[in-house]
């Protein structure tokens, strides 16, 4: 049977059902369209670009985004201080953040790294019971952050355990990457130390 005759038969027997608009289906296709303006903006779309959240489905990202707090910091404003108690994990939505070590009292401290859009910091606060910040985070310019606090993690775990477990997996991934980086750095430092030691021994001889 040809496609035309099939259509003709169906229209004849009215097997297409009623011809009312199905709004939810239309809404779905509208939002799914790559040309849709709604997709180019917003927290949800930003989260899709964050690499550590790769394992989240679209639905899970949407759920997770409902638990995030959008907060703005002006240039030079401290996000948190080294040594203070920490209860939040931050994703950089826009702007840059300096991570500073030292900087206690009048000492300006040393910038360890500068993080940009799509990067994150403060993840240990979600894992530790009594987390203490091991560096200061300071806005380099006008910064917008997506904050996720410990109480939000508790609520997410109770309401959407699958999303929470995926988030914790991502946080563990971040921690393991940082651990690997530190381990590599330590390895390099040890090798450098060996070279310095052998050089000093040779000089002594």
């Amino acid at each position: 049977m040809s496609y035309e005759s099939e259509i003709k038969e169906k229209t004849g027997t009215n097997s297409f059902g009623d011809d009312r608009l199905n709004i939810p289906v239309l809404k779905y296709f509208w939002q799914a369209s790559p040309l849709s303006g709604a997709r180019s903006k917003g927290v949800h779309n930003f989260l899709r670009k964050v690499r550590v959240l790769d394992n989240f489905t679209d639905y899970e990202l949407r759920r997770f985004s409902k638990f995030l707090h959008l907060r703005s910091f002006h240039a030079g404003e401290k996000i948190f201080l080294e040594g203070s108690g920490g209860f939040g994990f931050y994703l950089i939505y826009s702007g840059n953040v300096d991570i500073i070590s030292g900087g206690i009292g009048d000492d300006q401290g040393q910038i360890i790294t500068t993080l940009g859009e799509g990067e994150y910091f403060g993840e240990l606060a979600l894992l530790e019971e009594r987390s203490v910040r091991n560096a200061t985070a300071q806005a380099k310019n006008q910064v917008t952050l997506l904050a996720f606090f410990k109480p939000d993690l508790d609520e997410l775990t109770e309401r959407y355990p699958v999303v929470a477990s995926k988030l914790l997996r991502s946080v563990s991934l971040i921690v393991s990457r940082r651990f690997k980086a530190v381990a590599n750095e330590l390895k390099v430092l040890k090798e450098k130390l060996k070279v310095v030691e052998s050089e000093s021994k040779q000089k002594a001889k």
Binding site: E77, G83, F87, R130, P151
Partner: protein, 348 residues
């Protein structure tokens, strides 16, 4: 110039935040007719939180759930008021005729005791605690009968308002909370939110645990008293459940009226009744308290007693109930401040 602008901006944010917080507090405390049902609805919302989470995780429609819960709560509030109050009211009326008997019994016992002391020790007791006890008893009973209709009226009003507040808290509470967090200044948001959460958790869990504990003790005692056909079973069970909220002295306070009733009536079930109270309190102390309450509140007994006394002085029975979780929260708050100031010197 830029720096001073930022400082004034920060100051303005702080003033705005504290102003809003203070205004909410003042409005609520100035309007007790709203504060009390709102407070109860808030506590109920904390209590039903585990249930809400189950519904959320099963993708149940939020609105449907809120409506379902409202209907359930309206029923749960109005049904006991309509049915239970009439039988408790009957017992309360019987109590009105019973009190003079109790009074004469106490007087007679006191005189006998006074005689015995005089005969054996040749000392005459001059103070008369029975008069004082009777005066207090009469005052409380009279005020109970005067305020009972008013209380019933409020209960019916609350029966409608509390579920309504509850629905709004369940449906829009999260949105409100997030909006409030938005106005908290950056430098204090993490800690403020954490403390708010801790307060909610401690408060909700404690009230829920205490409610369950009181219900268990009340049910055991009422059922037991009904079985041994002891008079005023419902009233005594209710009284034991309420006094059970008080730590340490609560169970003893709950037992005193039952003991008086048993002695006045020369009840043959006096021994059984004492055993029943003992069993109910053993169940409470050995099973309910360790499982439900002790994990939530880890306070020194002295702190518990002092906070209950202070709570009763400030806000009566409600103060007594609220004082313990509040003390637990304050402990957490001060420990955190101490750690911030002394334990982490690098933070300064």
């Amino acid at each position: 110039m830029n720096q001073s602008k930022r400082l004034s901006n920060r100051l303005l944010k702080n003033i705005f935040f504290f102003g809003i917080t203070l205004s909410i507090g003042v409005v609520l405390f100035a309007l007790p007719r709203i504060l009390i049902p709102f407070g109860i609805a808030y506590i109920l919302s904390l209590m039903v939180r585990p249930l809400v989470n189950v519904f959320y995780s099963s993708n149940f429609q939020k609105k449907t759930f809120a409506v379902l819960l409202t209907v359930l709560f309206i029923f749960a509030f109005i049904y006991p008021v309509v049915t239970g109050v009439s039988s408790i009211g009957d017992e309360a009326h019987k109590l009105e005729f019973y009190l003079p008997r109790a009074e004469s019994y106490l007087r007679q016992q006191y005189l006998e005791f006074k005689d015995v002391v005089f005969q054996r020790l040749n000392y005459e007791i001059k103070v008369n605690p029975v008069d004082e006890l009777v005066r207090i008893g009469q005052e409380y009973t009279q005020s109970l009968f005067i305020y009972l209709p008013k209380l019933l009226g409020s209960l019916l009003e609350w029966g409608l308002i509390i579920p309504l507040f509850l629905v709004f808290i369940l449906k829009d509470g999260r949105k409100l909370r997030f909006s409030y967090i938005k106005i908290i200044p950056n430098h204090m948001v993490e800690k403020a939110y954490y403390f708010f959460h801790q307060f909610n958790t401690k408060f909700g869990d404690y009230i829920f645990a205490k409610f369950v504990e009181a219900a268990i003790v009340g049910t055991v005692i009422t059922t037991g008293l009904l079985i041994i056909e002891f008079p005023f079973a419902l009233l005594l069970g209710l009284f034991a459940a309420i006094t059970n909220i008080l730590p340490y002295i609560g169970p003893l306070l709950g037992f005193i009226p039952a003991l008086i009733v048993g002695l006045v009536d020369q009840s043959p079930a006096l021994g059984q009744m004492t055993l029943l109270y003992l069993i109910a309190n053993i169940i409470d102390l050995a099973l309910v308290f360790p499982i439900l309450v002790s994990k939530i509140v880890n306070l020194h007994p002295m702190v518990v007693v002092v906070s209950v006394i202070l709570g009763s002085q400030v806000a009566g029975i409600v103060g007594m109930i609220v004082s313990i979780p509040l003390a637990a929260f304050l402990k957490l708050f001060f420990v955190e401040i101490y750690n911030e100031l002394y334990a982490n010197p690098s933070a300064k």
